[in-house]
């Protein structure tokens, strides 16, 4: 029988995949994808816990996470666009004029 733990472990693995993506990527767009993966992983965890506790709070949280993810995409892409207009690149390695 599939238990809560199984779902949570899947969620954990997905989260780690997302994290790896965030750590690995140098292209901002790709990096954003990875953050989406992370948030989705969390959603799975919430839905699963919600299911096994028979409690709606988890679904609520997941719902808001989706909303947040959507807004982040909007703002994030907005910033990416101005950045791209200025720099012509989305590579993080080109984006280190401030340091130290």
């Amino acid at each position: 029988m599939i238990g809560l733990t199984d779902y949570l472990i899947v969620s954990a693995i997905l989260f780690s995949i997302g994290l790896m993506g965030v750590l690995r990527r140098r292209n901002l767009l790709m990096l954003f994808f990875a953050t989406e993966v992370m948030l989705n992983a969390v959603n799975v965890a919430f839905a699963a816990i919600s299911h096994y506790y028979n409690d709606l709070t988890g679904q609520m949280f997941a719902f808001f996470i989706i909303a947040i993810a959507a807004s982040e995409v909007a703002v994030g892409l907005g910033i990416l666009i101005v950045l791209y207009k200025k720099h012509g690149s989305l590579d993080l390695d080109d984006l280190a004029s401030m340091r130290g």
């Binding site: 994290l19 965030v22 750590l23 990527r25 140098r26 993080l92 390695d93 984006l95 280190a96 004029s97 401030m98 340091r99 130290g100």
Partner: protein, 632 residues
């Protein structure tokens, strides 16, 4: 009478201030005259006090005002005029007055004439405080005060440059002045410690209270206090091993040597021992040490005087030697004899120095007796004075020195300290020899000075007249011995020769006399007819040893002064800069370096930042896990 006390004390002070007013101006003869007059006033007041004390036998005790009071310590400016202090006062003011008058003549070409009088009178004032104070702290004021004046006066010709030790053993007046001050300071520390010991055991520094309480103190405390005080005395009286400054102090003008470094200041140590006799008489070990050291110094200094060529240095060594005699007497308990010798010595030694000053004045500051000779033709009076003084110093009968020195030697016999006696007797012979060696080389024989194109002349008449009291005193002072004994033993413990000694006193006197006369004869034989230099003798190791003062100044230089400078320098450049300061800067640099290193994490690259976040999360987890495990 109180008024007289203050007059005696403050007249020199007034003189000093008056002279100081003109300190930076041209020579003004009236400054010297006013100063001398004020000193004479002080002398007259002292003499009147002396008569009063002599007549009534009472001491005068005045307290001017409080000086320091903190905790239980109360130190007033209090002055006491008793038999001991009045003797000192008279001696000091008398010699000072004469020296002041003498200086008018002696310093007449010096552009710092006024300044000189200011210093000299200040010295007298300090000396008066020293002798008159009714407590140890007051004594210490005078003690340091004369030290400073001595510093000022030794370094009076401060503008002379430093030269090598070969050229001038004293290097320069300023060097000699500093040496004198520092050496005295070393001893002063001992003195201060002595004061502290007395204060914490007795609770006061007043003579009367201290001496009243001394008999009830523990032996070790007394020994410590006596020793500490004596260390103070050793510095001021230039006892071995703190003696080198005295000969170097001859760099000062000759009146200074006469007053400070012969008659008065250097005897302060002896005065201290006499003053604190209730303490020293309770500490036989220390007293014996004093006597032994005194005897040693008497001999030691005399030995150096034998070969010296410097007119003033010879006299300085003789002063040292005579101080040894005084300490010997004081150490053996014959305080009044020590005091008597102190007074007598003041007269003839001042006379000797002033005479030497005349010679210097005549010889244009030349001091080498090998370059003199035959001066008697031009300087009859000076020859006479110096002859008298030398006779007194040599202890020829009926001159002042005879009575006092003989009494000391007799005391040594009486105390059964035959070794001390023997040394003192031999020293008496040596004293006679070097005194007359000097006199003969200076005044008799061929006129060697002519080679150097010097035209000597006799001193001014008034100066010679002014010196006459000293000459007279040097001749007659001895006859006052009995009444002096009667006078001071009201305060000081009387010292009587035992029956046995008394019986053979004439014999002992003859022995001493024999030594003295043979010393004179030897000098006569060798030097009366002019200087015949003996190369072999002069190159022998013992001659050179003596001529170089046993190499002690060199030793001090090599083993104390230079290492001190070296260590100081090392302390600064190595320890302070390289260790202490470098540590502080090192910490700062370390922080700065850490900053420089850690800012490297701030690469500006977002990817690294994200990695840091992940690393941080892991670290945080580790920290949390470890602390959770640690707490349990």
């Amino acid at each position: 009478m109180e008024g007289l006390v203050y007059i005696a004390l403050f007249a020199p002070f007034a003189s000093s201030l008056f002279a100081a007013l003109f300190g930076m101006t041209e020579r003004k003869i009236f400054v010297g005259i006013v100063a001398s007059t004020l000193l004479a006033t002080s002398f007259i007041a002292s003499a009147m006090l002396a008569f009063y004390v002599y007549g009534t036998g009472n001491a005068i005790h005045v307290t001017m005002m409080d000086w320091i009071s903190a905790g239980d310590l109360h130190i007033p400016f209090g002055f006491i005029v008793d038999q001991v202090s009045v003797t000192m006062m008279v001696v000091v003011t008398l010699v000072s007055t004469i020296v002041h008058i003498y200086s008018i003549g002696y310093m007449d070409h010096d552009k710092s004439f006024n300044r000189f009088f200011s210093y000299l009178s200040a010295f007298v004032f300090s000396m008066m405080i020293l002798v008159m104070s009714d407590n140890f702290a007051g004594l210490f004021i005078g003690w340091e005060g004369v030290g400073v004046c001595s510093w000022l006066l030794i370094g009076f010709w401060y503008h002379k440059p430093d030269v090598s030790r070969e050229e001038n053993p004293s290097i320069s007046p300023s060097w000699a002045a500093n040496e004198a001050f520092i050496m005295n300071r070393i001893a002063d520390l001992g003195m201060l410690i002595g004061l502290f010991i007395l204060y914490w055991n007795i609770g006061s520094l007043q003579y009367d209270k201290v001496f009243a309480a001394v008999p009830f103190l523990d032996g070790t405390v007394l020994n410590a206090a006596a020793l500490a005080l004596f260390i103070g005395a050793m510095g001021k009286s230039a006892q071995f091993p703190l003696h080198t400054w005295l000969t170097d102090a001859m760099e000062g003008p000759t009146p200074v040597s006469a007053l400070i470094h012969a008659a008065t200041m250097v005897t302060a140590g002896v005065f201290l021992v006499i003053r604190a006799n209730p303490l020293f008489s309770l500490t036989p070990e220390v007293s014996y040490f004093i006597a032994a050291l005194g005897t040693f110094v008497a001999f030691f200094a005399a030995s150096m005087a034998l070969v010296n060529r410097d007119l003033k240095r010879i006299i300085a060594f003789s002063t040292l030697s005579q101080l040894g005699y005084m300490f010997a007497a004081a150490g053996l308990g014959a305080y009044w004899i020590a005091l008597f010798h102190l007074a007598a010595h003041a007269f003839f030694k001042a006379l000797l120095f002033l005479g030497a000053g005349n010679v210097m004045h005549a010889m244009h500051d030349e001091l080498d007796i090998f370059k003199m000779g035959g001066l008697k033709k031009v300087m009859k009076w000076t020859y006479l004075y110096m002859g008298i003084a030398s006779l007194a110093l040599a202890g020829i009968p009926f001159f002042a020195g005879f009575f006092s020195k003989d009494a000391i030697i007799e005391t040594a016999w009486n105390e059964g300290t035959i070794v001390l006696w023997a040394i003192l007797v031999i020293t008496a012979g040596m004293t006679a020899f070097y005194s007359f060696r000097q006199v003969f080389l200076t005044f008799e024989g061929d006129e060697r000075y002519k080679k150097y194109g010097i035209h000597p002349h006799e001193m001014y008449g008034y100066v010679l007249v002014a010196m006459s009291p000293l000459a007279i005193l040097a001749m007659v002072a001895g006859f006052g011995m009995k009444s002096f004994e009667h006078f001071v033993t009201k305060l000081l413990p009387d010292y009587h020769m035992s029956e046995h000694t008394h019986h053979i006193a004439w014999f002992l006197g003859l022995v001493v006399l024999a030594f003295a006369v043979s010393g004179i004869l030897l000098a006569y034989k060798k030097y009366y007819h002019g200087l015949k230099r003996d190369e072999q003798l002069e190159n022998s190791w013992y001659y050179r040893l003596l001529a170089n003062q046993y190499y002690i100044p060199v030793l001090y230089d090599e083993f104390i002064a230079k290492p001190y400078a070296m260590i100081s320098n090392a302390m600064w450049t190595k320890v302070d800069m390289k260790i202490v300061d470098a540590t502080v800067d090192g910490i700062a640099k370390f922080l700065y370096k850490t900053g420089d290193t850690s800012r490297k994490m701030q690469t500006g690259n977002l990817s690294n930042y994200l990695n840091w976040m992940a690393v941080g999360a892991v670290l945080l987890l580790v920290v949390a896990a470890i602390s959770a495990a640690a707490i349990g």
